[in-house]
């Protein structure tokens, strides 16, 4: 008879079979058997966080920077409820997470036992799927299924709730079955005729634009290579959503910047005026589309996505191709190269006028700002950070708010998986724990959290985690003492009534860093910025960098509420600024 294993042992056997190296977690009564088993599995390292939300975001950072699923281990009740924000965040941004939660013993479920909550009930709407394992026989099968669901199709978080008595119960262990390639929930069945239709549209286009999203990143690093090949082949301008940054080089001439609410003038105008829009792995989010009725009114729209429910959800498209981005793009390139569809070597001539128009828009320099030699402008700080770190392979995480948009606008990414930001849910406090996870996955790389002082205080306790594991993450705080994006909206939409958006009391970040046992650096003026950034980069350990920036700076350009792409508010450096600001004011 084969050996019997406890539920806790089976958990680790499954994790080993799934090649899990790290789990992010926090112990508690209902997961103690699993924690007890940890010592017997040296290949799996546990990262002890300071709050379960931090575990979730760290696992997200790990997953997004490495392409592997992130694993979270939490206890029942508050352990599970604390991780809900991170699960929802992962669900919105399609990040593969496997969360294992302890639960009170099966005979106590439903009795309002100590630290009991309906974990599967609470997490049902924020996971791809979840399971309550009520029978030890189901445990290994469920755990392997959990990894499969999290990582296949459109990735996302899953949760497995394991009652404490199941963790003690004993049974045989069965290895996961070899996966069948095709299963019901995978969608990769596009047809060659769809590819041909797409190529016909490409061949006819005079004003095309490619709009890429996080789906390209999720399709793996190869998809980014394929995308680059495709974009160079057709010569079209390409824009990207917040999540898609890095799939195409940010400093390439064909890249016209991020689009959407705080996207560039050229990208948004190209979206509005184009005659062919190719959406690759993006989902027409409301921060992208602006006013739906006036979204890209004269274009044929193509949508390539692995999730059929993303298609026609917001914007009706003319051609939908459901499939994995890399597979679809490879098929397109192959067909173009076969020249079977009448597409000549390129239609770059067709679109030369379009490029001229885009160059005109570019001269607006919509990301421009008026620099100062007295105060540090936040945009300037991000630009300097980029210039001083671009020569090494740098990973950037962010919190949520103005700093996030400035980071997206001014930091140029050349590789996928280098940019981790909370886009869908917009979770303040995401960046610091995410940086912890990224640094775990890439111990020798430079990892910087571009943060705001309000956001970073929400999960500041994870500095302790960084210090414990010697993770040299750099927390680059653009400190303007405001919840900047809230303040900006209040300025533009609520008659400058800055209701509760100013933090009257803030910690001394240098002292805070020292209290955590890491290094604190403060920069007050532009002259010392470069030296201090270099000091931060050169320091071999975690750093909190307090960058005191102009508190009144707003994030431009911007599509105001309920407006289409071609009605942007530009920044103060634009010469027509006065007129547009006047009009902008009338709008709000």
């Amino acid at each position: 008879m084969s050996k019997l294993y406890t539920g806790a042992e089976i958990v680790f056997k499954c994790l080993e079979d799934q090649n899990v190296d790290f789990i992010f977690g926090y112990p508690g009564g209902a997961v103690l058997p699993i924690y007890d088993e940890l010592k017997n599995h040296s290949s799996i390292k546990h990262i002890l966080v300071r709050h379960e939300q931090g575990a979730g975001h760290a696992a997200e950072g790990y997953a997004r920077s490495s392409g592997k699923p992130g694993v979270v281990l939490v206890t029942s009740g508050p352990g599970a409820t604390n991780v809900v924000t991170a699960l929802t965040d992962a669900y919105m941004d399609s990040v593969p997470l496997v969360c294992i939660s302890g639960q009170v013993p099966t005979h106590l479920i439903g009795t309002d036992a100590f630290q009991e909550c309906d974990t599967t009930g609470i997490t049902r709407p924020c996971t791809k799927h979840n399971w309550l394992v009520k029978d030890i026989k189901d445990l290994s099968k469920t755990l392997h299924e959990a990894f499969r669901v999290a990582t296949t199709g459109r990735p996302g978080p899953v949760l497995v709730d394991i009652p404490k008595d199941i963790q003690f119960a004993k049974i045989n262990y069965s290895k996961p079955k070899k996966e069948k390639k095709s299963n019901g929930k995978m969608n990769n069945k596009f047809s060659q005729s769809e590819i041909s239709q797409l190529i016909n549209l490409i061949a006819q286009a005079k004003k095309p634009v490619i709009y890429t999203g996080g789906g390209v990143i999720n399709s793996g690093p190869k998809a980014s290579d394929t995308l680059r090949e495709f974009v160079r082949l057709v010569g079209f301008p390409i824009t990207s959503t917040l999540q898609g940054l890095g799939a195409f080089p940010g400093d390439d001439n064909q890249f016209i910047g991020m689009l959407g609410m705080h996207g560039t003038y050229e990208a948004n105008n190209a979206m509005h005026d184009c005659d062919l829009l190719i959406n690759i792995g993006a989902r027409f989010d409301d921060r992208i589309t602006g006013k739906i009725d006036e979204f890209s009114p004269r274009s044929k729209k193509i949508h390539i996505d692995i999730d059929p429910s993303s298609i026609n959800k917001i914007i009706k498209v003319d051609l939908a191709i459901v499939g994995d981005v890399n597979e679809v793009l490879k098929a397109i390139i192959k067909k173009i190269n076969d020249k079977k569809n009448g597409l000549k070597q390129s239609n770059k001539q067709n679109i030369s006028k379009w490029w001229e128009q885009i160059q005109k828009w570019r001269t607006k320099n919509s990301l421009g700002f008026i620099n100062s030699d007295k105060t540090i402008k936040p945009q300037h700080a991000v630009k300097r950070l980029y210039e001083l770190t671009k020569n090494q392979d740098t990973f950037i995480t962010t919190e949520v708010g103005q700093h996030q948009m400035w980071a997206a606008q001014h930091y140029k990414f050349n590789k996928p998986n280098r940019w981790m930001t909370s886009g869908g849910l917009g979770t303040m406090g995401y960046g610091l724990p995410a940086a912890v996870g990224v640094q775990i996955a890439h111990p020798d790389k430079l990892v910087i959290d571009i943060a705001g002082e309000a956001s970073v205080l929400m999960t500041m306790q994870e500095m302790s985690t960084a210090v414990q594991y010697n993770l040299p993450i750099k927390i680059f705080v653009l400190n303007n003492q405001y919840m900047g994006m809230v303040r900006q909206w209040q300025e533009l939409l609520h008659e400058k009534n800055y209701s509760e958006s100013y933090s009257e009391a803030l910690p001394d970040f240098v002292k805070l860093a020292e209290a955590y046992g890491c290094k604190g650096i403060k920069a007050n003026n532009p002259n010392e910025l470069d030296i201090k950034i270099k000091e931060m980069i050169d320091h071999n350990g975690p750093v909190i960098f307090d960058c005191q920036v102009d508190p009144n700076e707003n994030c431009f350009p911007m599509i105001p509420s309920g407006k289409p792409h071609n009605q942007m508010i530009l920044g103060p450096s634009d010469k027509k600024e006065n007129k547009i600001t006047g009009k902008g004011k009338a709008l709000v």
Binding site: T120, R124, S561, V588
Partner: protein
């Protein structure tokens, strides 16, 4: 136009809503109904009626029949979102007007009153396969099977005749002919 003062765009014109019957085949496991119903409530779709029971005990399959209304776009989303749920095997969608599909709902009607009123009730029900399940001097329980709106009508009609209690199953559906939905 009123300035919306919002970070979100203003609602756009809504298309015409139709009533659809959505049939979902699911694994009969704990929480599966909550997943389906939660999807509807979470995304703001409405449920007019719901009928669910296991239909295949060996394969553990339950069949959920949901009557809902929505614009074509919303109905498409409902189907696509349902298909994404892990325990969902297949999803069928029928328009209420579809002649190829049979829709039926069962109702139990309890009428309390004298013989005259009870007889009147029975006569009123005669087109809807009435079955008398229980009868006393003062009351009767009638089972009828009909379309949703016919039962709605009957409820109204029987109210003055002493209808005191109604229990309904929610609509269920089946395609006509030899064809089986795959």
């Amino acid at each position: 136009m009123v300035n919306p003062k919002s970070a979100y765009s203003i609602p756009t014109k809504k298309g015409k809503s139709d009533t659809h019957i959505i049939v979902v085949w699911v694994d009969n496991e704990a929480g599966v109904l909550a997943r389906v119903v939660g999807l509807f409530s979470g995304r703001g779709y409405n449920i007019e009626s719901l009928a669910v029971a296991e239909v295949d005990a060996t394969k553990n399959i339950s069949r959920i029949t949901i009557v809902t209304t929505g614009t074509p776009q919303v109905i498409d989303q409902i189907k696509l979102q349902l298909k994404k749920l892990v325990p969902v095997h297949k999803v069928a969608d029928f328009k209420r007007e579809d002649k190829k599909v049979i829709f039926k709902e069962m109702a139990l009607l309890k009428v309390v009153g004298n013989k005259k009123k009870i007889d009147k009730c029975l006569r009123a029900c005669k087109n809807f396969n009435p079955v008398i399940l229980d009868k006393t001097k003062l009351s009767i329980v009638i089972q009828i099977t009909a379309l949703r709106r016919e039962i709605d009508k009957m409820s109204k009609k029987l109210k003055p005749l002493g209808l005191s209690s109604t229990s309904r199953t929610g609509a269920i559906a089946m395609t006509r002919g030899a064809e089986v939905f795959k």
